[in-house]
Structures are given as structure tokens and as C-alpha cells.
């Protein structure tokens, strides 16, 4: 799905900064919505485990970000894919509809995220190569999704930890990267609106899937 993020960039003209900001806010809102849905499910399966898992997720992303080169969109994309994969794997273990809802939401979220990644890589690498890199950066998602699902199948007690980890990691990514970048690109009010609408969509989907 990240490759679809290349579509808005086909015209070859520079993408307006505002559009990038809104795409980022859309991705951010979907991630907050996913975190909300995962947290409601995780709390019922162990509040302390999900809480500690969430703090570990925050710490994990903070540590990963501290080690990465700032502004390397490919590496950052790969970091995003880990908690997203874990979220899908964990959600699948909760129930198939919930897992499918999570996978669909994160797939849609990969489109604007792909647009942002490709737009930042394109000046150096060209559109085709950037699109390929954006997709490769998301391959982790499949690997971690399967690994998470297998781990939770083998040891169901891990589930609240895993869900909590995804929640913390996703939230920290939103507040450390997506939101500050989107505010700089498009100002505050439109970003707040796009983010809230995206969260609302996931809240409705989550209700439909449970």
C-alpha cells in the first residue's frame, strides 16, 4: 500500500508542503486511533502488563530514534513498521475481525506515510527507487506481524504486553515525529482537524469490528 503513496507524486511537480502536512496528520490520526483500539483491548487482558508494555514501547522507540540518523526517511520508515507489524499480529490473535480491521487501517495509513517517505527520498533517488524503498521499509511490518502472531499463539500471556508495546511505540512515534512535522508544514488548526477526523474513523471501524 505504501507504493500507492507515490500516486499523488506522479505529476513530477513538487508537492505542496501543506499537502505533506495533511498526509502526515492523516497517518498520525490513524495511528492514534489504532493505539486507542489496541489499548481498550489490551486493558481487558491485563492492565499492568499492557501499561508496562506501553512504557517499554515508548522507551524502545525513543532509544531507536536516538540511534538513527536524523532525517533518514528509509530508516525511520522501518522503525514505524515494527510496532505496526506487532499491532497487526497481536490484533489477529485477539480476533480475526479485529486483526483485519487493524491491518486495513494500517494499510490505509501506509498510503499517506508512503507519500511522505517518497517525497523526502525522491530528490536524491528518483521516484521509482523511492517508491521501492518505501515499500521495502514496510516489509518489516509483515515479518513482525507474523512473528508477533506466532509468539502470542505460543504464549498467550504475552498478548497484553505485546498490545501495550505497540500502543506505546505508536503514540511516541506520533508525538515525536508525525505531529511536529505536520504542524511545521500546515499550521495548527487544519492539522488538529485532520487528526481528529482520522481518529474518529478508526473509533467507528473499531466499534464495527467488535
Amino acid at each position: 500500500m505504501a507504493a500507492l503513496g507515490a500516486l499523488p507524486l506522479q505529476s513530477g511537480r513538487a508537492v505542496p508542503r501543506r499537502t505533506i502536512g495533511w498526509a502526515t496528520a492523516l497517518a498520525a490520526g490513524l495511528m492514534i486511533g489504532v493505539a486507542y483500539a489496541l489499548m481498550t483491548v489490551a486493558l481487558d487482558r491485563g492492565a499492568i502488563q499492557s501499561g508496562v508494555g506501553a512504557l517499554a514501547g515508548i522507551a524502545g522507540v525513543a532509544a531507536a530514534r536516538a540511534r538513527l540518523h536524523a532525517g533518514n526517511a528509509f530508516q525511520l520508515g522501518s522503525v514505524h513498521a515494527i510496532p505496526e507489524g506487532a499491532a497487526i499480529g497481536g490484533a489477529m490473535a485477539v480476533s480475526v475481525p479485529f486483526g483485519l480491521m487493524m491491518a486495513a487501517t494500517l494499510a490505509v495509513h501506509n498510503i499517506p506515510e508512503g507519500t511522505v517517505t517518497i517525497a523526502s527520498l525522491r530528490p536524491a533517488r528518483g521516484l521509482g527507487m523511492s517508491t521501492l524503498l518505501a515499500v521495502v521499509a514496510n516489509v518489516n511490518q509483515i515479518v513482525f506481524g507474523i512473528a508477533a502472531f506466532a509468539a502470542v499463539q505460543a504464549a498467550p500471556a504475552l498478548l497484553p504486553w505485546l498490545l501495550g508495546f505497540s500502543v506505546g511505540a505508536l503514540l511516541h512515534l506520533v508525538f515525536a515525529e508525525l505531529l511536529p512535522a505536520s504542524y511545521q508544514a500546515a499550521g495548527r488548526t487544519s492539522i488538529a482537524l485532520v487528526t481528529i477526523v482520522a481518529v474518529a474513523i478508526v473509533v467507528l471501524l473499531h466499534d464495527g469490528a467488535s
Binding site: 486507542y36 489499548m39 481498550t40 486493558l43 492492565a47 501499561g51 506501553a54 512504557l55 515508548i58 525513543a62 530514534r65 536516538a66 500502543v167 506505546g168 503514540l171 511516541h172 506520533v174 508525538f175 515525536a176 515525529e177 505531529l179 511536529p180 504542524y183 495548527r188 488548526t189 492539522i191 488538529a192 482537524l193 487528526t195 481528529i196 481518529v199 474518529a200 473509533v203 467507528l204 473499531h206 466499534d207 464495527g208
Partner: protein, 242 residues
């Protein structure tokens, strides 16, 4: 003790508890731009965490109604921002921009207390009301909300007693609404998801449109993000435990 006196005492306890949220600011002396940024991030995280709880509670009564309520809440804040825009607001001796933001925040938090009051009334409606348990739960729940309000107001140069007093004020609608909602539970139940959604939408918009952007401008992005995300998790766990 007659029921009216009990309600009054419960109201007093829960409202006063909100004021406890101002206490940490007796220790925090300096209010440099960086401290302000982190106070905003803390307030923003606590409010977003509260939104998670409001939405979760609202969807139990109806997800569509909750989301509609949320959109009304966002529109409500947009209108309030627009109405307050060019007014010479006087509040606590602060400049107009700070006064506007404090009035908006207090409006949002007070409005959210109305919905929470209805929620408390409805959740105990029909069942045996455990007055002490309700009182303790609301009271403790209110402390971090007072912390959020105080974090913003203290940043605007308000005194700690003023922060505490306004925090208490913001919670007064809770017991006031809980009693009629409890008595008129059949009437209150269908309205509740709209109210909870309204509170969540208004609070989330206030955070995303005012508090977080200002936190990012004044402070280090990573630290703001850490405070916000940890505050969300802490608030969600805290409310879940109650």
C-alpha cells in the same frame, strides 16, 4: 444525614480534590519557556488520555453518537475561538492571548465535567448507589485533571491558589449533573454518548490546536513527545484502575 446534605458533601470532596492537582506547582518554581513547554505536554497528554476513557465509555452507549458528539465538540471550540478572537478579555492580569487561552481551557474542562457528571449519574442509575465509592472514584479521577489545568494556568503566571481554585471550579458541574442524571436516568442515557463524545472532541481539539503546537515551539520535540505519550498511558491506566 439527609440525602441533600450527603450530595453536598460529596460535591465538596470531589471538587476540592481537583484542586490538589495544583500542589506539584508549589515545588516547581521557575516557569522558563522550556518548563512551560513540558507543562503543556503534560497537560496535553493527561487530557488526551482522558479522551481515550471518554470515547471508550461513550462507545458502550453508541459509537456513532459518540463520534457525532465529538464533531459537535470540535465545532463548538472553533466557534468559541472565533468569538473570543478579537475580544479584550481580562483574566487574572494576563495578556489578552493568555487570557483567551485560559478562558477557553476552563470552558472546555468545565463543559467536560458536565458530561462526566451525567456519566456518573447514569452508571449508578437504577443500581444501589455506593455513595462513598462514587465520591472517592470521582475525587481521585479529578486530581490529574486539576494537574492539567494548573500546568497551563501556572505557565500563564497565575498563583498556585488561583490554579487550585479554578481547578475546583471546573469540577463543580460534576456533582451538580450527577444527581439529576441519576434521578432521570431514562432521559439521560440516550444523551450520554453525545455528551461524552462532545467532551472528548472539545478536549482533543484544544490539545491538538493549542497546547501541543505551543509545546513543540518552546521545547525539545523528543522530550515533549516523551511527556505526552507517558502522560497518556499514565492517565489511561489511572482511570482504568478506578
Amino acid at each position: 444525614m439527609n440525602p441533600a446534605t450527603q450530595v453536598f458533601l460529596a460535591a465538596l470532596v470531589t471538587a476540592v480534590a481537583t484542586g490538589l492537582g495544583a500542589l506539584p506547582f508549589l515545588v516547581v518554581r521557575s516557569m522558563s519557556p522550556r518548563v512551560v513547554a513540558y507543562a503543556y505536554a503534560l497537560a496535553g497528554g493527561l487530557m488526551l488520555g482522558a479522551c481515550f476513557g471518554l470515547v471508550a465509555a461513550g462507545t458502550e452507549f453508541g459509537a456513532t453518537q459518540t463520534v457525532l458528539g465529538g464533531l459537535i465538540g470540535v465545532i463548538g471550540i472553533l466557534i468559541a475561538q472565533w468569538r473570543l478572537k478579537d475580544r479584550p478579555i481580562v483574566f487574572g492580569g494576563a495578556d489578552v492571548a493568555s487570557a483567551r487561552q485560559m478562558v477557553l481551557l476552563l470552558g472546555v474542562m468545565t463543559a467536560h465535567s458536565f458530561s462526566e457528571g451525567v456519566a456518573v449519574g447514569v452508571s449508578f442509575g437504577g443500581g444501589e448507589a455506593l455513595a462513598l465509592a462514587i465520591t472517592v472514584a470521582i475525587a481521585v479521577h479529578n486530581i490529574p485533571e486539576g494537574l492539567a489545568i494548573s500546568a497551563v494556568m501556572r505557565s500563564k503566571g497565575q498563583s498556585v491558589p488561583a490554579c487550585a481554585a479554578w481547578s475546583v471550579f471546573s469540577s463543580l458541574p460534576q456533582p451538580l449533573m450527577a444527581v439529576p442524571a441519576f434521578l432521570l436516568v431514562d432521559w439521560a442515557r440516550p444523551v450520554l454518548p453525545y455528551g461524552l463524545g462532545f467532551a472528548a472532541g472539545a478536549m482533543a481539539f484544544m490539545v491538538l490546536d493549542e497546547l501541543l503546537p505551543e509545546a513543540y515551539v518552546r521545547g525539545n520535540h523528543t522530550t515533549v513527545a516523551l511527556l505526552t505519550s507517558v502522560a497518556i498511558i499514565a492517565m489511561v491506566l489511572f482511570q482504568h484502575a478506578l
